[in-house]
């Protein structure tokens, strides 16, 4: 350290260099000189990287609209930022990829500009469940990406693939499961309802929910790990330390392709289908561009491209896609999926969370 200081770099020089660095960092990323542009928020990390690489440049080429992609945090922090910015008539991003619960919460404050299907010629391609509507029927958002959470197993520990979520309840699997730790991201109440109570409608009433909790309590002795962090479970699944659990279908497929002894199974009750929507902030001035973007993203070719390059499940009807069976199975399934009861996580969020925490911690 002393030597470094004696090397003849003046204090002023160091300060100058620091200022120059700060200047470079503060400079906004330079957009290509185009008349039209749009700011699109995507989940930071894997999604943003894949979109930046595979999807956005193609869109700019096709439409002449430049995309500035913004990394948004998962969870609801981004919703809060959008809401507060909209109050000041600012839009940190024009379009954002939003989780279903965040969509519902945004609806309650009319945060999303209703979309006009007349401007979306590909809107008919979409599966109904990927069109997010206000209670009065206006369209709040259009499906952006979808992914499955399925029953995963280590192939060394389980030579035969289980075919039902009921495997979680099997006493033979004591202390062998890895499950997601939160009521709002594991969707295990829905799994319980679909497997044992005839469908997720059983969760309409409080009695139904309590019954599901009671049934779910029987799983507890089988659970070795309640994880929040994906890497934690993935590692244990690959090594066979925790040989069964719930995990993302696409990532498990990638791990299997890399030669790890893991498999993802769509149980006969269906995989859990979670998704994100494109939603337009009410403070945005770029409604035209946003419609062009959503329309572009809903084309069969682009949906197929995303399934191949990003690993997401298509949001449009299968017959329109040119995906081979193998490509389709890598990201999705024809088995009727379990759709999470997102409405419960806005109307009964705190009650569910309290019951859930008491169930797994207590």
């Amino acid at each position: 350290m002393k030597k470094l200081l004696e090397m003849g770099i003046s204090r002023r020089g160091v300060l100058g260099a620091g200022l120059a660095t700060a200047g470079v960092l503060a400079m906004p990323s330079i957009l290509r000189a185009q008349d039209r542009s749009i700011k699109v928020g995507v989940y930071g990390g894997y999604f943003k990287d894949s979109f930046d690489k595979n999807i956005f440049p193609e869109f700019t080429k096709a439409s002449g609209i430049a995309v500035e992609s913004i990394a948004e945090p998962t969870g609801e922090a981004w919703l809060v930022q959008l809401q507060q910015a909209a109050r000041a008539n600012q839009a940190p991003a024009d379009l954002s990829m939003m989780s279903q619960v965040a969509m519902l919460k945004g609806q309650s404050t009319e945060l999303w500009t209703p979309l006009d299907t007349a401007k979306l010629k590909n809107a008919d391609n979409l599966l109904d469940r990927f069109v997010n509507k206000y209670p009065d029927g206006r369209i709040a958002g259009i499906g952006a990406v979808a992914w499955y959470i399925t029953l995963v197993t280590n192939t060394d520990a389980y030579p035969e693939a289980p075919d039902s979520w009921a495997a979680f309840w099997d006493p033979a699997n004591a202390d062998k499961l890895g499950l997601l730790a939160l009521v709002s991201n594991s969707f295990l109440l829905e799994v319980t309802a679909k497997t044992f109570m005839g469908g997720t409608n059983a969760l309409d009433t409080e009695e139904g929910l309590l019954e599901a909790f009671e049934k779910l309590a029987e799983v507890k002795p089988n659970v070795r790990l309640w994880y929040r962090d994906e890497a934690q479970f993935e590692q244990s699944l690959k090594s066979g330390e925790i040989p069964m659990g719930q995990y993302y279908h696409d990532v498990t497929g990638l791990a299997a392709a890399d030669g790890h002894p893991v498999r993802s199974t769509f149980p006969k009750e269906g995989g859990i289908l979670d998704s994100g929507c494109w939603a337009l902030s009410k403070a945005s001035q770029k409604a035209e561009e946003a419609h062009v973007f959503i329309d572009y993203m809903s084309q069969p070719e682009i949906q197929a491209l995303m399934s191949r390059k990003v690993g997401t499940a298509p949001t449009i009807k299968r017959e329109l896609l040119d995906l081979t069976d193998e490509e389709f199975d890598a990201v999705s399934s024809d088995i009727d999926p379990i759709i999470p009861r997102y409405d419960l996580y806005t109307t009964k969020a705190d009650w569910l969370n309290q019951k859930w925490t008491e169930l797994i911690v207590g």
Binding site: A181, Q232, S239, E241, E358
Partner: protein, 285 residues
């Protein structure tokens, strides 16, 4: 060095910067948190700034009381184990040659460069059935088959002690190096064995340092939220884990803030109690 009491306002000038930092980075955020803890939670949105005690009311239950109790017990245990291990170690370190001291201190400092995440994952591998230390025990014939040592309380405690130990040693080190060696020589001359001299002379002479270190490690351990998740079962999750769940995953800021305020108050109370007991003993001594 002789210190003179400050006389003019200008003598207080050096305090301005730290005071400003303390206000900007502690007083303001903490006050905001206290304010938010009284706000009304809106399940379908975020929160509305009205005055309500609901958040505190929700916390006052046997369930959260249990979690709070466990968190404090864990932090106390980590502090006690850390000091019990670090004190004799640092004492021996301070007595060894300059070269040995440097090597140890560099090693200890390098442990500090590991993040909590790395420590957590490293221990979860070490404690695993498939790749863990029990495989070594099997190899040398001490065990019949490898076992998983996690998740469990022991694993959480080990991880947290490992994480806090370097801080403990670094806090104890200056005091132990500065300890007057003649004290020990006197004890030895008067016929005390090394162990007896250590327990009856060194430990009492450094009582204040030990208490201060205990408090520091306690506060440090109380904030831990990653290791209990990585190495423990849900019963071993600390209050910090539940605060994170509320703040990040449920966006229930008011309730998260109320829990955090509770945690701060409880730890302040415990620190106060410790200092009070220490002070009284000093007065009677």
């Amino acid at each position: 060095m002789r210190r003179e009491p400050p006389r003019t306002i200008a003598d207080y000038a050096p305090l301005v910067f730290p005071a400003l930092m303390l206000i900007v980075f502690f007083v303001i955020p903490f006050s905001t948190m206290i304010a938010v803890s009284f706000f009304q939670r809106d399940q379908a949105g975020f929160y509305t700034p009205t005055f309500t005690l609901d958040n505190y009311e929700r916390f006052l239950s046997a369930f959260f009381g249990g979690v709070l109790g466990f968190s404090i017990m864990l932090a106390v245990l980590v502090a006690v184990v850390c000091v019990a291990v670090a004190f004799p170690f640092t004492y021996l370190l301070a007595r060894s040659s300059r070269r040995v001291q440097t090597v140890w201190l560099v090693a200890i400092l390098s442990v500090l460069s590991l993040s909590e995440v790395i420590i957590g994952f490293a221990w979860s591998t070490l404690f695993s059935r498939t790749a863990g230390i029990t495989n070594l025990l099997v190899a040398v014939g001490l065990m019949s088959e490898p076992q998983a040592l996690l998740p469990g309380f022991g694993a959480v405690l080990t991880g947290m002690v490992y994480q806090a130990l370097p801080y403990t040693i670094l806090v104890l080190y200056p005091a132990l190096v500065r300890l007057d060696p003649t004290l020990l020589e006197a004890a030895r001359t008067l016929g005390a064995s090394p162990a007896r001299a250590f327990l009856n002379v060194v430990v009492p002479a450094l009582r204040n340092t030990i208490v201060a270190t205990l408090i520091m490690v306690f506060v440090f351990a109380l904030g831990s939220y990653l290791l209990p998740q990585l190495l423990g079962r849900p019963q071993h999750w600390t209050l910090s884990v539940l605060i994170t769940d509320q703040a990040i995953y449920q966006s229930n800021m008011p309730f998260a803030a109320a829990m955090a305020v509770f945690l701060v108050l409880m730890s302040l109370a415990l620190v106060g109690l410790t200092l009070m007991i220490g002070g009284r003993r000093e007065a009677s001594a």
